[in-house]
Structure formats: C-alpha cells, structure tokens
C-alpha cells in the first residue's frame, strides 16, 4: 500500500515536471514576443497620409524639379477637424538624409491657421526640423508655377524655392544633389474629396548640360490606397502632364 502511494507520488511529480518543462518556455516566449514585436499604428492611410503622385528615381545629378498647376477648389465638407488636416497639390525634392523641400497649393491647416480657401505654400525639413510657410491666397482657376532647385553647383548647396518666378527661399541643404522627386496629391484625412487638378510642364534639372528635361524613365505613378478614392492619371506627353484627384473618375 505504502509502495503504491509512493509510486503514485513519483508519477505525479514526473507529470508536473513535464508540465513545467512545456509551460515555462512557452510563457517566457510569449512574454518576450510581446515586448519585442512593434505595435502597428492604426492609421487611415498607410504612411500616415494618402498620396496619389508620380515619383522619379535612379537619375543622376538631380538638382531641381518644376511644374505648372491650375488651382482647383479643394474645399471639403470637413475643414481642419483636429487642426492638422489638409489637402496639398504639390511637388517634393527628397535628399538621401531624408530632408526635403516641397511647394504647391493647399487648403486646410497651414502655418498654424486653418485656411478655408486655397493658398500657395512651401515647406522644408532640414536636419530633422520642419518648417512651413504660407505664400498667400490664390484664385481658383489661376495658373501657378513652382520650382525647387540648386541650378548653380558651385553655390554651396543653396537650394531655392520659386513660386511664379519669385525666389521665396534660399536654403542650405546637405547636398547639391537630391535623390528623388515626386509630384501629386497629399491628403491627411480620408473623408475628403478633391476635384481633378492639372499638372503640366513637369521637368527635372540634371545639371548644365543637360539642364531642364522631362522625367522619362524611372518615373512611376503611385497610389498608396485606392480605397480612399485617390487617383493619378499619366496624360500626354508622358510624365510631363498628369492629373490627380480624390473621388470621381480619373481622366486627363
């Protein structure tokens, strides 16, 4: 009888040890996993804004971008609901250190004010510090030109932002050569809509010579989430003329 009880106790102990052998590593594993895997941020758009743009890569000596836009009515049913929202029609120059310059027209939150009509703007991020500037109201239907460039390689990496030919800013960047250009629409909230906006005479500056030229190979359209209704159309001439919008039907 005593022997049977002892055997039962040994069996029970063996079971418990086996259980512990399985449980402890599993629980530790779960604990470690929960501290090492990043939590995904729930965002409306992926990045965290929505884009419909064209982007050019892998070109050499990229030192400028310019385009002509016709101002459209970007007014939406909800304007600046949390004082961060906006819709931009613009172009960007991006550098290898992730600094950038951008210019275009916008509606919504700009330089600390909720703009309920369209305004020209430019913005920069240099060394991680972001600044944006209101360049004044613009009329719907008017034609605007924008350029961000360093056309003088000996200038010491001084980049200029021109709006309608006026030199709005002279900014010393880390490089005279950018890595990437984009043109198109940026939306910070997905409850918006935007009519078709026309971009034409889109060109890049690739040193002198060759000077200004069309974008050509290495350019691709990009829509990061079609479920929000953003679209971009490549019209004619290819990559030199595009249209963008949010909602409605894509057309040139």
């Amino acid at each position: 009888m005593a022997m049977t009880l002892r055997n039962n106790a040994i069996l029970e102990n063996k079971k418990n040890i086996m259980l512990l052998t399985v449980l402890i590593p599993s629980l530790i594993g779960i604990g470690l996993l929960s501290t090492s895997i990043p939590n995904a941020e729930a965002t409306q758009c992926g990045n965290p804004h929505c884009y419909a743009d064209q982007r050019t890569t892998s070109i050499s000596s990229l030192s400028g971008e310019k385009r002509t836009e016709v101002v459209t009515d970007l007014t939406t049913s909800t304007t600046c609901p949390t004082n961060t929202e906006f819709i931009d029609e613009e172009g960007w120059i991006v550098f290898a250190n992730n600094d950038w310059l951008e210019a275009g027209f916008t509606q919504g939150y700009l330089q600390g004010v909720c703009r309920t009509s369209e305004h020209n703007f430019y913005a920069d991020s240099i060394g991680g510090f972001y600044q944006e500037f209101d360049s004044g109201a613009v009329s719907i239907g008017s034609t605007q030109t924008y350029e961000e460039s360093d056309r003088n390689p000996g200038s010491g990496n001084i980049w200029h932002v021109y709006i309608n030919g006026v030199d709005k800013a002279q900014l010393t960047m880390a490089s005279s050569t950018a890595s990437f250009v984009q043109q198109g629409e940026e939306v910070s909230y997905n409850t918006s809509s935007a009519p078709k906006t026309d971009y034409s005479n889109i060109q890049k500056f690739a040193g002198a010579p060759p000077g200004w030229s069309s974008l050509g190979s290495g350019t691709n359209p990009f829509q990061d989430d079609t479920s929000f209704g953003l679209w971009i159309n490549n019209c004619s001439p290819s990559f030199t003329h595009i249209t963008t919008g949010m909602g409605g039907t894509a057309s040139c």
């Binding site: 402890i24 990043p38 965290p48 950038w100 000996g154 010491g156 940026e186």
Partner: protein, 211 residues
C-alpha cells in the same frame, strides 16, 4: 488541484523571469525604445510619400569591400553600435553621369526587424534604426563656408568635432519623432548618419568608431 497550483507558480515564475530578462537589457538597447515615433511626427506635417530604401540608396551589396570597389569610396563599418542593433544591409547607388554622386549606405535596425524590398526610410526610422551613407563631396565646395551656412539654415544644428575635424551635429527629440544627425568628412567623402531613436551623442560615438 496540484496542477492548478503549479500553473499559478509557473505564471508567477515566468513573470518574474521576464522582468529579470527585461532589466538585464542594456540601457541603450533598441528593444527598450518605443517604435513608431517618426510616423506619429509625420502625421502632423506635410511630407513626401513613402520611399523604398532601394529607390534612395540603390542595390544591395554583398560586402563593404564590394560596395566600395563599385562606388569608388572608402566607407567603413563602425566598430561600435548600440546594443540590439545590427547591420541589416549595405547598399550602393551609382551616379549615371560620372560618379560624383555614388553612394555607399549602411542600414542598421533592431535584430528582430526584417528589411526587405518594400521597407521604406520611414519604417527604418520608426524601428529606431540608424542610416549612414558615404557620398563624394563636391570638389568645388568651400566646406567651412558651407558648414556655417548649414548651421544657420538648420535650426538646432551646431558645430561638433568628429575624428578631430569640424563636423555638424543636430540633436533631435526622439519622443517627438524628430531625427538626430551628424555630418562629417572622411577624406573626399561626406558622411551623413541619422536616426530618430538614437541621440546625437549616440551617433557621434558610432561615427568616432568608423576608422
């Protein structure tokens, strides 16, 4: 009953063990920094769309030697990186118009993070990674003048010393998603290193070990 007691004991033991493991991680470990700070910062400002690493930094290289041979540069692997970070990829980008803008880039990220063809710069910065690239400096650039101009142009930028030479540092605000950056020179190459998760002093320490 015995099994229930054992499960409770196991749970307590696991909790204690995980705490012990947690506190044994070095203070500068990538595992202790919150992810996603850069995206939070971006959500409030105008910014470019997501850019895959290969679109900015080019193709993967099998080693620093092959990257340097291809690009005509002399990029160096740092002897020091904060614990928890590892070198994920070396990239080489070739300038089609003569090599002035050839680049060699080192991308560091926490060990548990995978870097693939879809990974963007934003992803790396969100994961508290560090990006460092070498690029030939323009021969007609007046470095001293440019440094003064850049410091005036970039709020927060200031003069520092790396490898005994004048350099530029910017101390970001990691909790606000603002990057830190150092810019220094290695011969005729400009070297730029930046990160959201690591401070200017961390980046200086890494840069000083790139010899």
């Amino acid at each position: 009953m015995t099994i229930t007691a054992l499960v409770v004991v196991t749970l307590v033991a696991a909790a204690v063990l995980s705490q012990v493991i947690h506190v044994q991680v070095a203070p500068d470990s990538a595992a202790q920094k919150p992810f996603g700070q850069y995206s939070k910062f971006l959500s409030t400002i105008k910014h470019p769309g997501p850019i895959p690493l290969s679109d900015i930094y080019g193709n993967d290289s099998s080693s620093i030697i092959s990257a340097n041979q291809l690009a005509g540069l002399n990029a160096k692997i740092p002897a020091y990186v904060p614990s928890g970070l590892e070198l994920k990829v070396i990239k080489t980008k070739m300038d089609q118009s003569g090599g002035q803008s050839n680049m060699v880039t080192l991308i560091y990220a926490p060990k548990q993070i995978n870097i693939d063809a879809k990974t963007t710069i934003t992803n790396v910065l969100d994961y508290n990674g560090v990006i460092a690239f070498y690029m030939k400096d323009s021969p007609d650039k007046d470095r001293a003048k440019w440094m003064n101009d850049y410091i005036s142009s970039a709020p927060g930028a200031h003069a520092i010393t790396i490898h005994g030479q004048q350099a530029i540092g910017t101390n970001g605000v990691p909790q606000n998603g603002m990057k830190s950056q150092v810019i220094f020179y290695d011969g005729d190459a400009e070297v730029i290193m930046f990160s959201v998760g690591y401070s200017e002093s961390d980046l200086i320490k890494i840069a000083e070990s790139m010899r």
